[in-house]
């Protein structure tokens, strides 16, 4: 297993000694000693505390707020309501780019979802602001809300999340279906889920004349600076946005929300710094969620068990004022060899906050449903689930016909199945036991795209042989502080201990979004290129300097390693310090970009195979995941320790999605009934008895020059279906609703 963990895939760039090492987190000591400052830790002088008042109805109008009572409360400084709230420069509904949701900034008295901000109270203390908000005692004119898939208003749309097409068709599904030997259908519903980052959304805003300083956890520092500037009507150069550490984001901190703007506007209006931290219950409203889905799949098989046609339809919810549709059906586009393929999405509008990207958006629920449908099809074909998936292995992307840039999925199946012991599985449901418990084995295929965004970076080599690297990366806990520094060190050809990393604020070159599992690839490429650019400049100095041992090595070239340049044509070398000293330079500064050039002509995905064992009490229906093993092919692994942690985290997320996570609405009021961490369950350690994530070797020369894919989200995919299928195998009951409740198994 260790050998597998340490095998490194490569792109066509040869990295040095840093990438690939299982370094511990460079920011670990800061975090365990509490020295790492999160946004809410900032306490500038003169700070005012802000608390949002949020709507207690899901639809209607605020008819009265007792502003006088709130303002009379000792310590309360100001109450903003639609009557007096400072205005943004743009309309709250302006979409300046595809990642802008309505900015709820108290522009009118209407209520569109429970938990919507309806007022902001500023006070000298947090306690006073909280009490002020309570004293507002809003009164409403309430209308009957619609909050579930059953009640919501259908609408047709051409696009799903991120502006992707809502439907796809390749081949001729209807013709293939009529000629098929077997028809398998499956429906799976998934629940509404919340990100539940442990760090609540927070902002500390301070104006210094025209200059605005913002501390807020953010997954897309550059883009957010632009967005803030646009809504504030100021120039982006006036803003400094700091986000050195995020206590979890999972997508929710990639999207700005109106509360942040209100805090900034209040700080300007009142001439004092303002801090706004959401209460835990306020994390279940204005800052996004994953919408519930109702998915229907049909898999048509020929007599040999080949997929003749695959159809995947999703019905999902969005808010009444914005559109973000969980693109679950897209999970079927590129995974199995379906010569005839049709996918679709149907929207419904409900009185809920706008959903948003949440770890593996679309892929997570889509993969869950697809994998359950695949087991249904395997059963119909009379085949073992793994054998069936191998039989329908896609050699090219079925939706586009493109070749894969790399696809180590076969190795994933082999390695994970071997470690799991899958060959010992007995086919019939309810045929395996452990004592009185039913035992079930299930599997699922994991897949996640490998996007790249736009990033820029600087890398500066200094006269003393150390370096500074700069890019505004976001570390949500995934380890950007460490993994990116490793890549940069190799680009610079120096030891990582000599690298100072400046990151996490907006005065640095933009590192792009930390999302879509593309941050390491994108920001890493920029940093590597910046380092290589600095080294190139050094090499030019040295090879043109007659006093250098490298003089004239230009034709054969030089190699950078451990802070020295080596001739390729003989043994001679020279340290960076000497080159700079002779040139009389304090530093050389390299610049680099990270992006994918042109439209890709290959399909680019990470893959994986997840095998789950569950125990189910046959009388009580309680499920325990007793073993969970995944193997992943994710290109070059920059840091095996961090990658494993990401993959395990994704898989544990899958346990939650399969068995626990679910927001429960009161359908009459439209309010959630479990908007806290006691009521909304995510897995605890005791739910994760034995778990392992392997990585298999994968060499991808196409995905980017460094061969890096991504590991942040793929662990969720495959896992949920594997657990669902294991429960099915254990009990004989096909899951149709996630999370699977004990009641559904007795």
């Amino acid at each position: 297993m260790d050998d597998l963990m340490n095998m490194q895939g490569q792109g066509h760039v040869r990295l040095g000694s840093s990438a690939g090492q299982a370094l511990t987190r460079r920011d670990g000591m800061l975090k365990v000693t509490g020295a790492a400052t999160y946004a809410a830790d900032n306490r500038p002088d003169g700070l005012l505390h802000a608390v949002l008042a949020t709507a207690g109805i899901a639809k209607g109008r605020v008819t009265h707020l007792d502003v006088a009572a709130a303002e009379a409360h000792p310590g309360v400084v100001k109450v903003y309501t639609p009557a007096n709230a400072p205005r943004t420069a743009l309309s709250p509904d302006e979409k300046i780019h595809p990642f802008v949701w309505r900015m709820e900034t108290l522009t009118d008295d209407s209520v569109r979802y429970a938990g919507q901000p309806i007022a902001l109270v500023l006070a000298e203390t947090l306690e006073a602001a909280a009490e002020g908000a309570r004293l507002l005692a809003p009164r409403y004119e309430a209308e009957v809300p619609r909050v579930t898939l059953d009640d919501a208003e259908p609408f047709e749309t051409d696009t799903t999340a991120f502006g992707r097409p809502a439907g796809h068709a390749s081949g001729d599904v209807d013709a293939a279906r009529s000629g098929a030997a077997r028809h398998v259908t499956a429906t799976v519903e998934t629940s509404q889920q919340y990100h539940n980052a442990i760090e609540p959304h927070a902002i500390t805003a301070r104006w210094d004349g025209d200059r605005l300083e913002i501390d807020t956890p953010n997954q897309a520092i550059g883009l957010s600076k632009q967005t803030f500037a646009a809504f504030l009507g100021i120039d982006p150069s006036q803003i400094l946005l700091r986000s050195p550490f995020l206590g979890g984001g999972f997508g929710s901190k990639a999207i700005l929300y109106g509360g942040q703007l209100l805090a900034i506007l209040a700080a300007r209006d009142l001439g004092r710094p303002v801090k706004l931290v959401l209460r835990r219950d306020q994390m279940y409203g204005p800052v996004g969620h994953r919408a519930p889905t109702r998915q229907s799949l049909q898999i048509d098989l020929d007599a040999e068990g080949n997929i003749a046609a695959l159809e995947h339809d999703t019905v999902t919810l969005t808010s009444t004022f914005d559109q973000f549709l969980e693109s679950a059906s897209n999970a079927s586009h590129s995974l199995y060899a379906a010569p005839n393929l049709r996918t679709s999405h149907h929207g419904r509008r409900a009185d809920v906050g706008t959903p948003g990207p949440m770890r593996a958006p679309g892929e997570a629920p889509g993969s869950a449903a697809l994998e359950i449908a695949m087991d249904a099809a395997a059963q119909a074909a009379g085949m073992d689930p793994l054998e069936f998936r191998l039989k329908n292995y896609a050699e090219t992307d079925p939706s586009t016909g493109m070749a894969f840039s790399s696809k180590g999925l076969r190795d994933c199946y082999t390695e994970a199945a071997k470690l799991f012991g899958w060959a010992e599985r007995s086919a019939a449901p309810r045929s395996m036991r452990q004592g009185r418990l039913l035992k079930g084995w299930g599997m699922g295929t994991a897949q996640f795209p490998c996007p790249m965004f736009q990033a820029a970076a600087h890398a500066t080599l200094r006269a003393d042989g150390t370096a500074v690297i700069e890019t505004s990366a976001a570390d949500m806990g995934q380890g950007a502080w460490t993994a990116l520094a490793q890549i940069a060190a190799d680009g610079l050809g120096i030891d990582i201990d000599k690298v100072e990393f400046r990151s996490g604020h907006s005065d640095l070159p933009d590192a792009g979004v930390a999302g879509g599992s593309g941050h390491t690839a994108t920001a890493g490429t920029a940093l590597f290129n910046a380092g290589a650019d600095a080294v190139r400049q050094l090499a030019e100095l040295a090879t043109n300097d007659p006093a250098s041992p490298l003089f004239g090595a230009g034709n054969a070239g030089v190699t950078a390693r451990s802070g020295r340049l080596y001739r390729n044509d003989d043994e001679r070398s020279e340290p960076y310090e000497d080159i700079l000293a002779r040139a009389g330079l304090d530093l050389v500064r390299g610049e680099g970009k990270g992006a994918r050039e042109g439209e890709p002509d290959r399909a680019m995905f990470s893959h994986g195979a997840v095998f789950a064992e569950v125990l189910v009490d046959p009388d009580l229906g309680q499920v325990r995941v007793s073993r969970l093993i995944g193997a992943f092919a994710a290109g070059r692994i920059v840091n095996p320790r961090l990658a494993r942690s990401q993959l395990l985290g994704g898989m544990i997320w899958g346990i939650g999605m399969a068995l626990q996570e679910e927001a429960v609405h009161d359908r009459r009021s439209g309010r959630l009934t479990n908007a806290d961490l006691a009521g909304y369950h995510v897995p605890v350690n005791a739910d994760v008895p034995m778990i392992e994530a392997l990585t298999v070797h994968e060499d991808d020369p196409y995905v980017n020059a460094l061969g890096i894919k991504g590991v942040g989200e793929i662990g969720v995919t495959g896992t949920v279906g594997a657990i669902g299928n294991a429960v099915w195998h254990a009990t004989g009951i096909q899951p149709t609703r996630l999370p699977i409740h004990p009641e559904s198994l007795i």
Binding site: E131, R134, R671, H681
Partner: protein, 341 residues
């Protein structure tokens, strides 16, 4: 949070009759204050009262109201003689909460009914006469026994279920002196119009919980708790069972259910039916069926009745198999039995 005064009661005398809300470990009361469900003008901190000991008493134990949940669970006497109590406690909340939570606070903890916790919903328990917001709502976790349209909430405590099975008695002191109530009856059931009268009169304080000598029940006692999350979750349903078995015959039986009613639910009929019967699967199955006599769903929780019967059966079977030498690593878990290989 509203503004409130804070006073610390240094003596029991200072706490009795004091006006305000008693603050013990604060793990429940402070949460309720933060969400605006409890709005006391005055907090009386009783956490330092000298009621923090577990003493021998007439063959049984007397547990002070300030003893922390964690301390009870690791007390050698409790582990040896009342193992189902230790198991129940360890199955509740988290280690951090158990270190802070007190005996008295655990008994007095509020229901987790989400409508009770939501000041915008009507709730007869929070605001008598306002109606029951849960009726007709999301009621998967609500009562199947002893409920009325006035209130369908369940009492969330694990500890109290085991205490009820052990015939524990609550010692209460108030302005009017001492009184005692059986744990089993301490939490009033709802009446036709509401949640029923409060368990304590104003100014009263719980000082101790008394546990009688368990006798032969010590050897065969277990607590089992059904939940979707293996730890840090309240019971969907739970059961405490204790048996005295002589030569394969049950001479005494105790059975109480959690998660089904506004109080820990002692199953007297089932206990009667077990007495004198062989400690056999048939006896337990019959008893389990009797355990939920009178149960009916209060909403979308019809599954609770069969689940309660089955958890009762499991607790009886485990109790009959004998209390294990050490409590399992996952206390009270369905998966912590010797019965599953």
């Amino acid at each position: 949070m509203n503004r409130f005064d804070y006073v610390r009661a240094e003596t029991l005398g200072a706490a009795i009759g004091a006006e305000g809300a008693l603050l013990a470990g604060g793990t429940n009361l402070l949460d309720l204050m933060k969400i605006g469900v409890a709005t006391p003008d005055r907090l009386i901190d009783i956490s330092r009262l000298p009621l923090d000991r577990i003493e021998q008493s007439g063959g049984g134990l007397r547990i002070g109201a300030m003893v922390r949940n964690a301390e009870i669970a690791r007390d050698p006497q409790v582990l040896a003689r009342y193992p189902a109590l230790a198991e129940a406690l360890l199955s509740g909340a988290s280690a951090q909460l158990r270190n802070a939570a007190t005996t008295g606070g655990n008994v007095m903890q509020a229901t987790r009914c989400s409508y009770f916790q939501d000041p915008l919903s009507p709730c007869n328990r929070r605001e008598p006469g306002s109606g029951c917001g849960a009726l007709g709502g999301a009621t998967r976790n609500h009562a199947v026994l002893g409920w009325t349209e006035g209130c369908i909430a369940v009492h969330p405590s694990d500890m109290c279920v085991a205490l009820a099975a052990y015939d524990a008695v609550v010692e209460i002191t108030g302005p009017g002196g001492l009184r005692e109530v059986a744990m089993e009856e301490f939490h009033p059931l709802p009446d036709a119009d509401g949640a029923g009268k409060p368990p304590l009169m104003p100014g009263e304080i719980i000082t101790h919980i008394r546990l009688p000598d368990p006798g032969a029940l010590a050897r065969n006692a277990r607590y089992v708790k059904l939940r979707e999350r293996t730890s840090f979750a309240f019971a969907i349903v739970s059961a405490a069972a204790a048996l005295a078995i002589e030569d394969g015959v049950i001479t005494e039986a105790r059975l109480a259910l959690g998660g089904v009613a506004a109080r820990p639910w002692r199953c007297r009929k089932a206990e009667e039916a077990l007495k004198g019967q062989p400690a056999s699967a048939e006896s337990f199955a019959r008893a389990a069926e009797l355990a939920t006599e009178g149960a009916r769903p209060s909403g979308d929780n019809a599954a609770k009745t069969p689940l309660a019967q089955r958890i009762a059966l499991r607790a009886l079977e485990r109790a009959a198999a004998g209390t294990p030498e050490r409590l399992p690593a996952l206390p009270a878990s369905v998966f912590a039995g010797d019965d599953n290989g």
